[in-house]
Symmetry: C2
Subunit: 231 residues, 2 copies
DNA sequence: TAGATTGTTAATCGATTAACAATC
DNA sequence: TAGATTGTTAATCGATTAACAATC
């Protein structure tokens, strides 16, 4: 466990690092677009909004891709991070729930500049099925299993109302999809080995409210408003 | 620093706990809707998707709101968490960038069941200004400062393209808004004391892709595709 | 060689978890 | 009293950070 093979570093990049790699990637791509060839950890870290020690530690998990005294070659680092994240292959994505949010996502072009392809849009509402959204025909939710198989979908995005989200997740899992991005405000129950990430607007707002209240001096805290003391 | 006052526990709830309180709150509200009066840490934790030791530790930061041998009274815990999160007051929210996503958010009714009120919608596009979205007239971005002042906006939501996001953030900050929720795929630069949270679809997808690739046995890893070796 | 910057070490900090005494 | 469940302790784990030797 403590032996250190020379190059193909031990698997197991820390989760916190994985979550920052996309930010570094995006920052590097912006540098690349501006024609920058080389960047130091200090400059890249500052552009990505992290501290440079953290950046270097993060990158060290991928390998030794920098040059001491010089920095990192932008193009090479873009490629290495893309590869590590699995963006050198194409991931087919299905979106279920074509309401406002589903349509917004379907129409959102730049999925991290590449790596993801929206392969199917599904909805339960007969009035929505058959409509054309973002150059795709909306299919009926009942075809989920077929669509997953035929289109090779490996990532499912859930933008249904909360009440339907669990059923959709279960069907995704049954169809062999083990990566799910959930926008519905509900905790999904899935078997081990299925990866669920959630995006939740109201949770984010509530966290902001907590800090804002803290900043505002927490006025009104401590005194319980009449009628809510309990029981 | 190590003295322990008896009740009004020391301020400073861990960030990880703050991020979970909204999940507990939502779970409790669902229990309340089903008429449940009391819940054990075991049952609540399981419904919220965390382990019960973590839940009890989290709640212990708020105070001693449970009863040994019995559990937690749902109604009381809902109130205490709401109060801690600052949801017993009303937060006015302004959304800037009324594209697909901005409209989706504006039309999204249930902002955590209450606590937040969309007070203004702003856009830079003259064709959008004046249109009615979610019972509000879309205003011009140039009125941001006035709107923030007049409507008492304290939370700013940015759903503009990446290129405009920083400018909007700077104007929000200048207008006195120090809580920002950013949907634009760009790192925002703000002064200390301003709280920025980001919601980023492509980052989430990239994290999913990383794990999916890992599960799939990482095929294709190691061999560098011709033409991308570097330089 | 002198200057710059990486990659790594080690210290510190914060989060998670099992276990259990306190107590309803 | 016996059974159940909280609140807290303490061990462990993972993440962050400063500092600096290695090295371009």
């Amino acid at each position: 466990m403590t032996s250190r093979p020379p190059r193909p570093r031990e698997r197991g990049i820390p989760e916190a690092t994985v979550a920052r790699l996309p930010v570094y990637l995006r920052t590097l791509q912006a540098l690349q677009d501006r024609g920058t060839l080389t960047v130091s950890s200090e400059d890249l870290a500052s552009a990505a909004g992290v501290n440079s020690a953290k950046l270097r530690k993060d990158l060290s998990h991928l390998g030794s891709y920098g040059t001491r005294g010089v920095g990192y070659e932008v193009r090479y680092l873009v490629y290495q991070i893309s590869r590590e994240l699995g963006l050198t292959q194409d991931w087919a994505v299905a979106i279920v729930g074509i309401g406002n949010l589903g349509r917004a996502l379907a129409n959102y072009g730049g999925f991290g500049t590449r790596g993801f392809r929206i392969a199917a849009l599904l909805d339960a509402d007969p009035a929505m099925v058959g409509r054309r959204v973002a150059s795709l025909d909306v299919g009926h939710i009942d075809t989920l299993e077929t669509v997953v198989r035929d289109k090779g979908v490996s990532i499912g995005v859930i933008t249904t109302p909360a009440a339907s989200a669990q059923a959709v997740a279960t069907r995704f899992v049954g169809a062999g999809v083990s990566s799910i991005l959930n926008f519905a405000p509900v905790v999904l129950n899935v078997p081990d080995g299925v990866d669920v990430r959630k995006v939740d607007l109201s949770i984010e707002l509530q966290i902001l409210a907590f800090h804002a209240q803290r900043r505002n001096g927490d006025e009104g805290h401590g005194a319980e408003p009449a009628g809510l003391e309990l029981t």
